[in-house]
């Protein structure tokens, strides 16, 4: 189990523990779940698995699924291309070839190689193996991971967001050539651009230097905001809740402010004037740790944890529909769950904007610290 999974699991547990209603529902339902499903399925663990599956990246979009009266599992969604670099070079196929199997039982043969999907990771089977065999700790013994360049759900989300940003803003930019005031979509985007400029860039970076950083700040703001909003659609994107994405965004900010640091900034970081000489090396270590580790870490953790927690809570509340069925009946449970989910989703719309704003704001603040020029006394 990798760190991201562990953390999501822990956060899910922490968040669920905070909501006593959910906790109550889970506990009170453990006793009477056996009758409905013949004791085959543990509702609680199935919901946890479902939430974890949603939070992780996957190779296809699954909108919903159900078990038909013949006992057949039906899935609705659409597949995405799998692009892997194997021992025999590049291999591509559609993820529908796996038939929504995620535990390595469906073997796909392509380009003379056999592939299996285990927990959303593509494995290449050894040449003499026909099926995947597992050891006690559930690790595949005769298959290994391949370099995965697939267009997964998150990659698709990033491409879609980039396309939307590109189309929206080229349209806005073109309008300024012919009109004084933009029309249509541009009229909605212009105030946001001005907001980033006047409320985020100008006060934090300073009147003289803010122009240079506007493209970066605008890109980061709209990228995070649009992806956060896309996460609230039924397609179930969870891009800004992937720790890899937030690490990359924080690294971009790190590179931007480190590479634009002025002489004054480096002097104040490494050899702080105005304090006793003995203290200066200690201060230098603290300042360097702050700028290279703590500031980017807080940036990436905040975004990741907020979006992950938000998605977990919304899905947990949606699961009340099933958990409260025995107490309130189908209609009552659905009503309660719908009302709470609607309420939380509205809050999530606010959080989507707030997190994009805070990421951009703190990036601008850190850049402002790095490009500041001090007056020498």
């Amino acid at each position: 189990m990798n760190i991201a999974q562990k953390t999501t699991k822990f956060l899910t547990i922490a968040v669920i523990a905070l909501f006593t209603t959910v906790n109550f529902a889970l506990n009170s339902n453990e006793n009477n779940q056996g009758e409905e499903d013949g004791g085959k399925v543990n509702t609680k663990s199935e919901i946890t698995a479902y939430i974890q599956h949603h939070l992780a990246d996957s190779h296809d979009f699954s909108l919903f699924s159900y078990t038909s009266s013949e006992g057949e599992r039906k899935h609705f969604g659409f597949p995405l291309p799998v692009i892997v670099w194997t021992s025999k070079g590049l291999v591509t196929f559609m993820s529908s070839a796996f038939h929504h199997n995620d535990d390595g039982h469906v073997i796909v043969e392509k380009g003379g190689l056999k592939f299996a999907k285990i927990h959303s990771k593509i494995y290449e089977l050894d040449s003499n193996a026909a099926t995947v065999s597992f050891d006690e700790s559930h690790h595949a013994t005769n298959a290994h991971k391949v370099l995965d360049f697939s267009i997964t759900k998150s990659v698709f989300g990033i491409l879609l967001a980039s396309l939307l940003i590109f189309l929206g803003f080229t349209k806005l930019a073109k309008q300024y050539k012919t009109k004084a005031i933009p029309t249509g979509l541009g009229r909605a985007l212009e105030p946001l651009v001005l907001y980033v400029r006047d409320e985020i860039a100008r006060p934090n970076i300073g009147e003289k230097k803010y122009r240079k950083f506007m493209p970066y700040l605008l890109t980061v703001f709209f990228f995070i905001w649009i992806l956060n909003l896309m996460g609230l659609t039924p397609f179930g994107f969870n891009v800004t809740g992937q720790i890899a994405i937030t690490v990359c965004l924080a690294l971009f900010t790190l590179v931007v402010y480190i590479s634009n640091g002025t002489k004054d900034f480096w002097m104040h970081t490494l050899w702080m004037p105005g304090v006793p000489k003995l203290l200066r090396p200690i201060l230098a270590v603290l300042e360097l740790a702050g700028f290279l580790l703590i500031k980017p870490f807080s940036l990436l953790v905040r975004l990741f944890a907020n979006i992950t927690a938000g998605h977990s809570v919304v899905m947990g509340i949606a699961a009340l529909m099933i958990l409260l069925k025995t107490q309130f009946g189908t209609v009552g449970a659905t009503g309660i769950s719908f009302a709470l989910t609607l309420f939380l989703t509205v809050i999530e719309i606010l959080v989507a904007f707030l997190q994009a704003f805070i990421f951009t704001m703190l990036s601008a603040l850190f850049i402002g610290m790095a490009v500041e020029e001090h007056e020498h006394h």
């Binding site: 822990f10 807080s298 805070i358 703190l362």
Partner: protein, 62 residues
């Protein structure tokens, strides 16, 4: 189990911190309504920094 106690302590600490920030900001806005915008921005920044601290602790706790 201990993780959950730790998570609870973090949430208590973060709650106290956020309460202080929010309360003081409201006092400030009540005294000087014309500075509301500036106070709000500063409040959100401090809140975000505190949140980063709390989330960092939650992640490191596990």
């Amino acid at each position: 189990m201990y993780n959950l106690i730790g998570a609870g302590l973090i949430v208590i600490g973060g709650g106290i911190g956020l309460g202080q920030i929010g309360g003081k900001a409201m006092e400030g806005i009540a005294r000087q309504p014309e500075a509301a915008g500036k106070i709000q921005t500063a409040m959100i920044i401090i809140g975000a920094l505190l949140e980063g601290l709390a989330f960092g602790a939650l992640l490191l706790g596990k």
